[in-house]
Amino acid sequence: MSEYEALNDMMNWPVYGLGQKQKEPVLLDALQTLTMHHQGVCPAYRQILEKLWRGRDFKSIENLPFLPVRLFKHERLLSVPQSEVYKTMTSSGTSGQSVSQIFLDKQTSAMQVKVLSRIMGEFIGPRRLPMLVIDCRATVASRRQFSARTAGIIGFSTFGRDVEFALDDDMFLNEERVTQFLTKYAGQPILLYGFTYIVWLHLLRWCESNKKHIPLGNGILIHGGGWKQLQSQAIDPQEFKQRLKTATGISHVHNYYGMIEQTGSIFMECEHDHLHASVWSDVIIRDPINFNPSAPGQAGLIQLLSVIPRSYPGHSLLSEDEGVLLGTDDCPCGRHGAYFKVLGRIQDAETRGCSDTYTR
């Protein structure tokens, strides 16, 4: 099969239709091909494999090499000539930290869109829906530099039509505009999208503190971007859903887990609050002490695999999040493959040493 045919074939895989046994060989083949591709064309990736993975075989998905996702903050990792870089994405990054740089060529970018649309199709159906973004227009004003929020809004907007923004540029909910939008599309399904924290603060908290009800009963909310800020306020996903339902009547709420380093092949939350790997991706939970795969139910570092990244060596990444594998192929929602939950970012440890006495 030519490369073009192989890619086309890959795009036709059933999103959640393959059991782990059938999925693994095809996924492994695609990931091994990518590993060899990056090894051949990305000198930095080759160096790391030679020096850190010497003498190890890559014969199973669990044995494939992985890079720490933070490496993209320190190094320019590129598997295509600079001239073929079509778009550069940057991570949001906590304040004061360096940001990741992800270099996309046309093909990788196209695959991101394709895979995301196949996954989204499973949750919102084949048609584009009127879309309300829980954010402000200013977030997408600068298109040259892609933050995770910008990328999210633009990426998900392809599944919507008549896109409207719920917030003004000062991040306050514009009640009039939202009501107008909802009146216009009354009785129809609508798509809502936003970052988890923004949905919580500027929609949910707004409704609650102003004692307002915004009728979103026909809406499907897709939200992502992490729970970090909410965890500090002790809000868990179940409570988030429950309170949203009370405030707006919305019952279709899907969180997604993903990272800018693997845009496209996101992990969607099903009706049973489980995050699912699609056929183009997988997760492995690893014990921090030895990086051995953890058994289901055991917490560990989340490794993410994706068949998309070709223009940068990001097809197998060790994240800084901890999670738990919940099961494989047997989620009551009927989707096949691995499903898991995310526990959150690994905790900062106390740093020792003789330096930095005067930083605080």
Partner: protein, 404 residues
């Protein structure tokens, strides 16, 4: 008495001692009442329940026990010459090695000075226990004189307050590495004031392969525990934690010695050390970066995530910029100690050695006219703080020798 401006006192919290009665009058070195105070502090700390969970406190308490202080005194005072403190010393203490403020205080007091110490605001069990114990002792009438010669203070980062103390001080002790030292040095001080500054340092360990291979099982086990302590106890972030492990000898012996040593070390780490996920992640990221930007890196040997060995096929003149943490050693095999000499610059601090004669190392340091290496100690002693530290004789640096 030192006049303290309202601006300074209002923004300062006194944890122990007093600023209102503090005076800059020195006493003779190894003053009787100061030895008594420190020896009693040692006894109280060792008797305290909480100490058992704080090995750094125990180390300090053990160091300032009566017998050791008497030993130090006889070492310094054997010639019967008169030594007095400088006056008042101001200490900027480190946040990341909490116990060091206590050593800094002891050095200053034994040298005969009034000591004002700025403690880091970062909370720590070690600091708490030490401060509380010191405070309790100072309330006893017999330590009244110490109370007028000691103040443990805290203030939010504030250049004006630091500037005031540095302008008043007859000596300043600055912990905290290059950036803090440079920052504090910019403030004007008295023409005769002295400085003891602890900048960033780099430390290494030299091993003779035959000496590892010849050890009997019991000696070997103890040696491994010692090396483990040196590398792991301070997460390899202390100035004296070994970074580079240099095997001096032929490759075959070195291979065999490595095959004996490292599996045992890994086992100890597994049993005695808890690595946090975030530390593993730092370590793994750093290992990848070593593969990309390190010098002479052949391979990064990963023993699970417990020990990473960055194996080098040569050493770089700037080897001291390549550091590791949480059990990441750089490792090289060299045929002769002489090959190591060219990389030793003024940043090198502690050399831990196994299988080398002290006389040989002394000769090596002199012959190569080394600007660095301030301590040569056996494996297992890398982290032992002492009154001679970082190339300074603390008492000599913080006192005056009076020619009568």
């Amino acid at each position: 008495m030192i006049h303290i401006p309202d601006d300074v006192s209002l923004k300062t919290t006194v944890l122990a001692g007093s600023l209102t009665t503090i005076s800059n009058k020195p006493v003779e070195t190894f003053n009787e009442s100061r030895i008594e105070f420190l020896a009693q502090l040692s006894r109280c700390l060792l008797a305290h329940q909480t100490s058992k969970t704080l090995p750094d406190v125990v180390t300090f308490a053990y160091w300032c026990r009566q017998a050791n202080l008497m030993r130090l005194r006889s070492h310094y005072c054997h010639d019967r010459r008169l030594r007095m403190g400088l006056g008042m010393t101001f200490h900027i203490c480190p946040a990341n090695v909490p116990v060091n403020f206590a050593f800094s205080m002891a050095f200053g007091l034994l040298s005969g000075n009034t000591c004002v110490l700025r403690l880091p605001s970062k909370p720590s069990a070690t600091t708490n226990l030490l401060v509380q114990t010191i405070k309790t002792l100072l309330d006893e009438p017999r330590h009244l004189a110490i109370g007028q010669a000691l103040a443990l203070v805290q203030y939010e980062r504030n250049d004006d307050i630091s500037k005031f103390w540095i302008s008043e001080a007859d000596g300043r002790i600055v912990w905290g590495g290059d950036s803090t030292v440079t920052h504090m040095r910019a403030f004007p001080c008295k023409p005769r004031s002295r400085e003891v500054a602890f900048s960033d340092r780099y430390s290494l360990c030299v091993l003779s392969p035959p000496s590892i291979l010849e050890m009997d099982e019991q000696g070997f086990k103890q040696f491994c525990k010692d090396l483990f302590n040196d590398i792991y106890l301070m997460d390899q972030a202390a100035c004296s934690s070994p970074q580079l492990i240099a095997w001096i000898g032929n490759q075959t012996d070195a291979d065999q010695a490595q095959a004996r040593l490292w599996p045992e070390i890994v086992q100890i780490v597994e049993q005695k050390h808890t690595l946090q996920a975030v530390q593993v992640m730092d370590k793994f990221v750093q290992a990848c970066r070593s593969a990309l930007t390190g010098s002479h890196v052949q391979v990064v040997e990963r023993h699970e995530n417990l020990l990473y060995r960055v194996k080098l096929d040569g050493i770089n003149p700037h080897q001291d910029v390549y550091r590791g943490y949480f059990g990441t050693v750089h490792e090289v095999v060299l045929t002769h100690l002489d090959e190591l000499a060219p990389i030793v610059n003024e940043r090198y601090q502690t050399l831990t050695a196994q299988g080398f004669d002290n006389a040989l190392i002394r000769d090596w340091i002199v012959r190569h006219q080394l600007r660095g290496i301030d301590r040569v100690v056996p494996v297992g002693r890398a982290l032992d703080m002492n009154i001679v530290w970082d190339g300074y004789d603390m008492v000599g640096s913080l006192s005056r020798l009076i020619d009568v």
